[in-house]
Amino acid sequence: MEVSSDREYIYTSSELDRQEGQLIEEVKAGARESIPDPDAWLDEEVKQNIMLSSVDAVLNWARRSSLWTAICFPACCAFEFIAAEGPRFDMSRFGMEILRASPRQADLMITAGTLTWKMAPVVRRIYNQMPEPKWVIAMGACAISGGIFRSSYNVVPGYNKIIPVDVYVPGCPPRPEALIYGVQMLQKKIARERPISDLPKLLLKGKKT
């Protein structure tokens, strides 16, 4: 197997640390503005009636009824998420019991916890590894805006500086019932998408859904 010759292999742990530090500084410098939320679908709904073809409806139903979550659980909200998966607030009745370790097999990222600058490149890498279509739920006050730690030196003020977010669930931590309500809102959003009907228009523009 040919290995490209311009790739540098880092061998000592201090060089590895330095490379990672540089990456973190780059992410920090590039994350001044929030990434706009993907809510263009709200305008369209007001402007025109959405006509879904039956293929669209079936695809949307399949996608929203089996959302598989990628693991990204930094902090305390993780425990409310796990309690939501637990026996009392059973999330597997919504098809979401699978917590996939590999982001390549997931289509939903529930960001449960405070994001720090050191963790930011890791979250972005996981988001990039997820295949389309993918959605993000920002869970908790720390994920929306940095929460109680906003004035700290190492905390990113909200996940929407790093990845685009679809649904925001407030709370510190949000109760499992609140999280399930957030998931249901996401399911309503997915029900209005037009994966097949829009495909020719988007392919012409050179973008994917």
Partner: protein
């Protein structure tokens, strides 16, 4: 009940063995000069009647004109404890000796103090930043840190 030993009595014992090492005493703590810290710590650990074999914590406080590194030691055998402090003067390059040779629990804690306060510990085998990344400018827990 863990007895907090009196700083004065212990200071008396230490002055006999290591004259000039104790700077100040307080009811339950004493301040030791940083160049005699290792000798004093070794004596505290190895003497039978004191036997301080458990290091509770190491921390550092920024008092503008000096940094104070605080150690609390406990003896599990005799159930008594003492607080030892040492001062590092100068804000550019404060240093203190590392006690990792005596108590290995100092490993991560001294790295944390280096990371957040900037105090270098001589003799630590792996003094790198622990919580923040390589390339972070400054030491956040100092009083004059500007974000």
């Amino acid at each position: 009940m863990t007895v907090a030993l009196s700083g004065k009595d212990l200071a008396g014992q230490l002055e006999e063995k290591f004259p000039g090492s104790v700077e100040e005493t307080a009811p339950h703590s004493l301040v030791v000069k940083s160049n005699s810290l290792l000798a004093v710590a070794g004596y505290l650990k190895d003497t039978e009647s004191l036997a301080f074999d458990y290091l509770n914590y190491i921390t550092a406080v920024d008092y503008y004109s000096y940094f104070e590194v605080v150690y609390q030691l406990t003896s599990l055998k005799h159930n008594h404890s003492i607080i030892i402090k040492t001062r590092c003067y100068g804000r550019e390059n404060p240093t203190a000796p590392s006690v990792i040779g005596l108590w290995r629990s100092a490993d991560f804690q001294e790295r944390e103090i280096y990371d957040l306060m900037g105090i270098k510990f001589e003799g630590h085998p792996n003094l790198k930043r622990l919580f923040l990344w390589e390339g972070f400018q400054g030491h956040p827990l100092r009083k004059d840190f500007i974000q």
